[in-house]
Amino acid sequence: MDEKKYSRKASLLAVDKTLVIDYKNPQLLRSFLTDRGKIVPARISGVNAKQQRQITQAIKRARMLALIPFTVK
């Protein structure tokens, strides 16, 4: 019911298997952030749990290096 409101999409990572989650690739990580800079939940982005853990780790590292923002006002 509520779940139906949000459409789960085929994740980028499922479409292109060659993509590697890396904190040095902010361009890829940005696709897992909202426009406010929050991390998108796995149920929305469609990635699996392992990938979500890697993405979260990578995003937090990239934030430390000012490659992606902590927040966007």
């Binding site: 409101k5 904190y23 902010p26 696709s31 426009d35 406010r36 939940p41 430390m64 290096l65 000012a66």
Partner: protein, 164 residues
Amino acid sequence: MSAAIGEVRSVRARQGTKREYETVIILRSGTNKAAILELVQKMMGVFKHYGSTLIKIENWGSRTLAYPIKRANTGVYLYWRFLGGSDVVREFERNLEITDSVLRYHTVKVDEDIDPDARPSEITEDLLDAVSEPPPEPVAAEEDAPEGSSDDEEDDYRDDEGDN
């Protein structure tokens, strides 16, 4: 335990192996080439003393920071990859801490149980000199691209955000 300098001090580490680390350093954008070279030379001394090897060093050029760090809005990124034991990171980071031009650094352990002989260093004198120069154009282009492209895709769940 009195391990020799440059050893990996871990019970589960295989003997005679090293760990592979990578560090990204953000330097103040006004840092001149001489200062960068000086930093690199100093760090080479640190690596040598701790028996570790620098396998890669890159200059990513000047980038706009996603948020200001120490009032700086842009910074020069240096990427280092090295093999070493447990103690080299501490000394490396201590040296970064006392270097004024360093805005921020971040070290990540990439891998462990690396045989140092199996991973030759790519570093040559020329490469070390080239580090003070930013790379040719592509870096700048990369910076601008992601801004617009990622925005359109994520409309579906935005309604969700206000509720929490």
